[in-house]
């Protein structure tokens, strides 16, 4: 059994999903964690994908930054863990 972290991807893997949601390439955008203030490019964030949806976590403090869930063809987006995304 591999550790959960072995299954972690990074923000590169959700470049397509992010274009779907934001309409533009976002992996080079900068995200600021609302919990610890860490500033990183989206490509460097920790990403877990499953059939249920996608969770993006801070690489510094592990806080949840973004979640994406697909229901009936609609993508529900929660960005409350981010102080900013630019």
């Amino acid at each position: 059994m591999k550790a959960l972290d072995d299954y972690a991807l990074d923000g590169n893997a959700i470049g397509g999903l992010l274009i779907e949601v934001f309409g533009t390439e976002m992996t080079t955008a900068t995200g600021t964690c609302a919990s610890c203030g860490a500033v990183r490019q989206v490509a460097e964030l920790v990403v877990y994908r499953s059939a249920l949806g996608t969770v993006v976590r801070c690489r510094s403090c592990d806080a949840v930054l973004m979640t994406f869930v697909h229901i009936h063809g609609v993508t529900c987006v929660d960005l409350q863990g981010l102080a900013s995304l630019a």
């Binding site: 072995d6 299954y7 972690a8 991807l9 590169n12 470049g15 779907e20 309409g23 992996t27």
Partner: protein, 246 residues
């Protein structure tokens, strides 16, 4: 303006499988023909979507194996418990169709004017986007010196072996074979570790630019190792494939 808006959107397109090339017993390269392919950058990927008869869909990202200017190709490693890769590597035939969207990604990309000696580090199928960079470097006649450190389970698992053997003098390739080695092997016979990085990687004083791609555990170990050698974190670009069994 309307045309610009439409071109900027990422839409699923039908790709026709052109040729199929076996790279290793587990790995296959598919050339894909997509109408109006806009071109791609070295290091980008495409999303591939499969739809089952009952409507269930599975989506995966695959690195583009070809250089900018070359026809689109992806290289896929078969994961025995995978939902998508067994189909791509065992079932799909030339002339079959596939849904793709892309190109995707602006972070793990290389352009000739990025400068620096180039330090490429691959774990298993993590070599795929780095191969696109190597081909591009050759095609544009870039004088940037390149080193590739490529960790693979065995000699048989080395992807693009013939091509890597025939690279120009400006490219040095070092292999680390982690599980088994051919008779008479004198190269590294272990996972990439700190002493190996210190021996193979460009010294940080030369201001190298590093690209690290492979299973997550490989990327974590290598990227932190490079930073420990003095590479600024901003000069180490990473792409993690998750747990791919490397």
């Amino acid at each position: 303006m309307a045309r610009t808006a439409v071109r900027g959107r990422l839409t699923w397109q039908t790709a026709t499988v052109g040729s199929v090339t076996d790279e290793t017993p587990q790995v296959r390269t598919l050339s894909l023909e997509v109408a109006d392919w806009p071109g791609h950058r070295a290091g980008q990927h495409v999303d591939v979507r499969l739809t089952a008869d009952d409507g269930y869909q599975a989506e995966r990202a695959y690195s583009i194996a070809s250089a900018p200017g070359e026809p689109l190709a992806i290289t896929v490693e078969r994961l025995d418990d995978g939902e998508v890769s067994p189909y791509l590597t065992e079932e799909l035939q030339p002339g079959d169709f596939l849904e793709v969207r892309g190109p995707i990604g602006g972070y793990f990309v290389w352009e000739p004017d990025f400068g620096g000696p180039l330090m490429l580090l691959a774990g298993g199928s993590g070599v795929v986007p780095l191969r696109a960079m190597l081909r591009y470097q050759g095609l544009v006649g870039s004088s940037v010196p390149v080193r590739l450190l490529y960790s693979s389970r065995s000699w048989e698992d080395v992807i693009y072996r013939a091509e890597l053997d025939s690279l120009s003098d400006g490219v040095e390739v070092t292999y680390a074979l982690t599980r088994s080695q051919p008779p008479g092997w004198t190269g590294y016979a272990r996972r990439v570790d700190q002493p190996m990085l210190a021996e193979v990687a460009w010294p940080a004083t030369q201001q190298p630019l590093a690209y690290v791609c492979g299973p997550t555990s490989f990327v974590e170990a290598v990227a932190s190792g490079l930073v420990a050698l003095g590479y600024p974190a901003g000069r180490v670009r990473t792409e993690r494939f998750g747990a791919t069994g490397q």
